[in-house]
């Protein structure tokens, strides 16, 4: 029984509909205008009036226009053929829309996500009589480099017996490939695709595990210092121009996962264009195939309808969960979650809900939390594991992290990669600020070593701030060397040239190898007669190290530059001890790591580099300790 309604009111993309009969919250309805059908979704019901957000332009709609309720929730189509595609926020394939309707996105035009024509070679994995449950494989078809599992639809509850199963031949996605019999004896025919409501998390796994295995992004500052685990979550807040999108693009290119889904949510169309034009031409070193074959893009860019932007992140995460169910590791990159939150804010405003901070709806936090909670490492019913990792960029208003979206996100993610304008202005890329960022996941280096680096960097930063006031002359040589070490480590390891073919992506082996080399320098004891000598040494070392960074791993050049670096260290570094001990002794008089850290932060936030008064006192203490 399908319910009908008529339009009562229109406020931009929010319409109020008078209806009779039953409707469901979040069900899909279509507004009929001429020969166009505008997709919309119920977001509130009040007596006989329902508020619907329309996923299209509402120009020309009138009071009294007909609305057809579908009885179905907003769903996406799941089956073979999703990989390599570019969808809009409602899973319309944009290339096919372009073929059929030209340059512009005409309203009311929809195309099925999966091609109904394409043939897939099916290999059955079960025999008639087998017992199956939702999410278990009935067979496979090859898709790109994967064996795409054709699974029992996720909404099938209970236990089923396979009554019929197709043999190994070619089928279209809508052809019947199996018939299941439920416990009451009813027969259910199945094809290779099914629909799943986007706002509902797929949870037909055995158990959720805690994320431990690092996800290698090949970006050194992330993998070494602020790692992300497979099945974990991370966020990248940063002001405009700090390089969020470039960082996401590099991650999508180099991350060592099976599938990458990019949700370009309310951002520039040009960025999506770069990905769709470049990825097909880039070879994935892991598979030897085009990078596009492991990538999916959900592109609801900033000028596309706002309501569809709100749903686009769910479209993306649902497809991620679908591939996770096949035992794959999926990385979802959402750029930018602030635009998604703003779409919610626009909707909330039109519903005239009581606003929270900065007019964001009061439920902002819980919605952000439940989105990130859809990430996870899971053990499937057949014992394999699969993961969905979610990384979202945040675009805080005015670049100020004390705003609702950043704060709500920080509460729920496992790693925080904060980008800073200072670093990007200084062309220090990736502009992740090592002094504010953090990660709760395990790195391949020990936590002691991580702490050591953080201490070195924050101490070096303090010294730098002090030097701005007292000049180089007023700084002790010991402090000066710490400062140079921090600068050096930042310059040759944390910074990475994303456009250099070698330096742009550093494998895990290479990272740990190079890090060991660096530990010797950081922990090494250097006796220089004066500051110029120290500076000259670190400049020389830096140049050799940069050459090392752009030398191919395991090549002759690499060993040559490595020897050069090692030679330099041998020349000037007088004793080699346990690096951690030395660094701790040299650099950090403060017992309490946290106070160093916080103090470094407070100094940094001051304008014009003039530190707080207590830092002057603090310097005095240091000087005593150094004696």
């Amino acid at each position: 029984m399908i319910t009908d309604g008529i339009i009562y009111g229109i406020n931009k993309n929010m319409i109020t509909v008078e209806f009779g009969g039953d409707i469901r919250q979040n069900e899909v309805a279509h507004v009929i205008i001429g020969d166009q059908r505008l997709k919309s979704e119920v977001v509130r019901i009040r007596e006989n009036l329902a508020d619907l957000q329309v996923f299209e332009d509402t120009r020309g709609l009138k009071k009294g226009d007909k609305v057809e309720f579908s009885g179905e929730l907003l769903t996406v189509q799941l089956g073979p053929g999703l990989l390599g595609q570019l969808f809009d926020g409602l899973q319309n394939p944009l290339h096919k829309l372009a073929e059929q309707y030209g340059q512009f996105l005409k309203r009311g035009k929809a195309v099925a996500a999966l091609s109904a024509e394409q043939l897939w070679r099916f290999s059955p994995a079960v025999k008639p009589g087998a017992v199956v449950r939702a999410g278990e494989a009935l067979g496979t078809v090859p898709e790109a480099i994967f064996e795409h599992q054709i699974m029992v639809p996720f909404n099938f509850t209970g236990i089923y017996e396979v009554a019929e199963i197709a043999d190994g031949a070619e089928y279209r996605v809508n052809d019947k490939i199996a018939v299941l019999r439920d416990d009451k004896g009813n027969l259910r025919p199945l094809s290779m695709n099914f629909f799943w409501p986007v706002r509902k998390a797929v949870n037909i796994y055995q158990e959720r595990l805690s994320p431990v295995e690092p996800l290698i992004s090949q970006i050194r500052i992330i993998d070494t210092m602020f790692p992300v685990a497979k099945g974990g979550t991370f966020c990248i807040p940063g002001p405009f121009g700090a390089g969020k999108t470039v960082l996401q693009q590099l991650t999508s290119r180099n991350a060592q996962v099976d599938i990458v889904i990019i949700a370009a949510c309310g951002e520039r169309a040009g960025e999506v264009v770069e990905t769709i034009r470049q990825f097909p031409r880039i070879t994935d070193p892991l598979t030897g195939r085009s990078l596009m074959e492991r990538t999916m893009i959900v592109g609801n860019t900033s000028s596309m309808p706002v309501a569809a932007r709100e749903s686009s992140v769910y479209t993306a995460v649902t497809m991620a969960e679908y591939y996770r169910q096949m035992g794959l590791d999926v990385l979802l990159l959402a750029d930018s979650t602030s635009r998604w939150a703003q779409a919610m804010r626009e909707r909330s405003g039109r519903l005239e809900e009581i606003p929270g901070e900065e007019a964001f709806p009061a439920y902002l936090e819980s919605i952000i939390a439940s989105f990130y909670e859809r990430a996870g490492l899971v053990r499937l019913r057949d014992g394999r594991t699969g993961s969905v990792t979610i990384g979202g960029t945040v675009s805080p208003a005015g670049g100020n992290f004390d705003e609702p979206v950043t704060q709500a996100t920080l509460k729920v993610v496992g790693a925080f990669h904060g980008l800073s304008r200072e670093r990007s202005d200084a062309r220090h890329y990736p502009a992740i600020d090592p002094l504010t960022s953090w990660s709760r996941y395990q790195s391949f280096i020990g936590s002691e070593q991580r702490e050591m680096i953080i201490k070195l960097l924050s101490r070096a930063n303090e010294i730098e701030q002090m030097m701005k006031v007292v000049g180089e002359e007023g700084t002790s040589i010991t402090d000066f060397i710490i400062y140079l070490k921090g600068l050096f480590f930042d310059g040759v390891y944390l910074q990475q040239n994303g456009f250099d073919p070698v330096d742009g992506a550093t494998s895990k082996e290479r990272q740990s190898h190079v890090f060991e080399l660096l530990e010797k320098i950081i922990g090494g004891y250097f006796a220089f007669d004066n500051k110029d000598e120290a500076r000259a040494f670190f400049q020389k070392l830096r140049l050799s190290f940069l050459s090392l960074n752009s030398a191919v791993w395991d090549s002759d050049d690499f060993s040559r530059y490595e020897n050069q670096v090692a030679g330099l260290i041998r020349e000037s570094c007088q004793q080699e001890e346990d690096a951690i001990n030395i660094t701790n002794r040299q650099a950090f008089m403060e017992q309490d790591f946290d106070s160093t850290f916080i103090r470094a932060r407070s100094t940094r936030t001051l304008k014009d580099g003039i530190p707080l008064h207590h830092d002057d006192d603090y310097r005095g203490e240091d000087a005593d300790d150094l004696q």
């Binding site: 120009r59 121009g241 405003g349």
Partner: protein, 442 residues
């Protein structure tokens, strides 16, 4: 004959409400106002209560004023005849030319399918070294000039309009002062560019709401020309006025403000306009250069902040010059690799040295002793500012690159510049050229 309504029930700000039937969302109406009539647009429908935004302002509107709905949304005439013409904010002639009624196209705001866009690849030469050399403008780019009141941003816009190698220029003015309007018009006329320009100008004296249509009118016409294969440059000044008009409407509609009174959809509103910048596969392109004045020169103000997240870079126009720091053209990497082999190296190297110069200046101001190197930097900084940074400098890219080499050679030894030896072998000026610059400096 369409029905005429004359029962206005509600007037607030520039928004009125009338009871009517069969009206479409976004439809236009003519509202009788004292001494004539004004266009109005339907912005909300609630049962038979129709809320209209009156472009001419609501002052003097009577509850008995007549309202006639037109049955369609805003349209703009499109033809070659538009070239050389000047219109006001709602598309009526501001000059003495005829009104156009044929070949009307509706302003729909349909977004371009991302699958049909191509990666930008052509540079727009402006002969302003701080743009061409350091932050190249690229066809189909959207970029804003971040500036503050009192800066010569309209002069900069008119110069870009005159010198940019594009087919058609659309100039949209929102809340421009009347003498600025005359300045822009005269500049285009004298420069001989008016015949390839179309102006939609809303002046500060006119009703505020009339500026809301200016970007849409400009961009719709620009898009139509682009689809015919033309390369169009759209200049918009000043987008902050546009945002303020949006704010005004939102407040009259009793919308909950998001940030400093601006509506929550400010980002989407701006994006819908800026995203019209496009390079069509197999057709022309639309490039947008806008002006955003920052109230209090504060870049975190909602207007520049949201703009910065949308545009592909920004030029900071400060103290009458385009700042080398902070200014950024995100798309420059796509074009400056093909211009001249020394372009990128010079771009990076010059700015790097200029940053060092700034540090030296600070040191000097704090009374530190100047080393020989510091003195070289001070020389360099002065030469750089005079030879390239000054907005009056008007030379093509190749000449700007040559001048950069001259400045470098006059101030430094080759190895001090940090430039690669290959480039130095090829471009480092000989002694005779050097003496030329020395004479110039003298």
């Amino acid at each position: 004959m369409r029905t005429i309504y004359n029962k206005i029930r509600w007037v607030s700000g520039n928004v009125i409400m009338v009871q009517a039937e069969g009206v479409g969302f976004g439809e236009l109406a003519m509202v009788a106002v004292p001494g004539g009539s004004s266009l109005a647009e339907v912005i909300k429908i609630e049962d038979n209560r129709i809320f209209l935004q009156v472009f001419g302002g609501s002052s003097g509107i009577s509850t008995g004023s007549e309202i006639q709905f037109l049955g369609h949304g805003l349209k703009v005439a499109f033809s070659e005849n538009l070239l050389g013409r000047i219109f006001n904010g709602i598309g009526e002639p501001r000059d003495k030319g005829p009104r156009f009624t044929d070949n009307l196209i509706e302003i729909t705001g349909e977004p371009v399918n991302p699958a049909k866009r191509v990666i930008p690849h052509k540079m727009i030469h402006t002969d302003i070294p701080m743009i061409d050399l350091f932050n190249s403008l690229v066809e189909s780019q959207k970029i804003s000039i971040f500036t503050s009141a009192g800066e010569p941003y309209n002069a900069l816009l008119s110069r870009v309009a005159l010198q940019a190698q594009v087919d058609i220029i659309l100039l949209g003015g929102m809340g421009v002062r009347f003498d600025d309007y005359l300045f822009l018009k005269n500049a285009l006329e004298e420069g001989g560019a008016l015949t390839r320009s179309i102006l939609f100008i809303h002046t500060a004296a006119e009703p505020v709401a009339e500026c809301l249509m200016v970007p849409d009118l400009c961009l719709t016409v620009a898009e139509a020309f682009a689809l015919e294969g033309k390369n169009v440059l759209v200049l918009l000044t000043d987008m902050t006025n546009f945002c303020d008009a949006l704010k005004e409407v939102a407040i009259s509609m009793e919308q909950v403000p998001a940030n400093r009174g601006y509506p929550g959809d400010l980002y989407s509103q701006l994006a819908a306009r800026y995203e019209k910048a496009v390079d069509f596969e197999e057709a022309g392109s639309v490039t947008i250069l806008s002006v955003t004045t920052m109230p209090g020169n504060d870049v975190t103000h909602p207007v520049p902040d949201n703009t910065g997240y949308i545009t592909e870079g920004q030029y900071y126009l400060n103290n009458g010059r385009i700042e080398p720091f902070g200014s950024l053209s995100r798309l420059k990497q796509l074009v400056n690799k093909d211009s001249r082999e020394d372009h990128r190296a010079i771009m990076d190297g010059m700015v790097h040295l200029y940053a060092d110069y700034q540090e030296t200046l600070e040191k000097k101001a704090m009374g530190f002793r100047m080393s020989a190197w510091d003195n070289k930097l001070l020389d360099y900084g002065t030469a750089f500012e005079r030879g390239l940074l000054d907005l009056r400098v008007n030379i093509p890219l190749a000449a700007a690159l040559d001048r950069s080499w001259q400045i470098l050679s006059a101030c430094f030894e080759p190895q001090e510049t940090g430039l690669s030896s290959e480039l130095i072998d090829k471009f480092w000026p000989g002694d005779d050229e050097k003496s030329k610059i020395d004479q110039d400096r003298a």
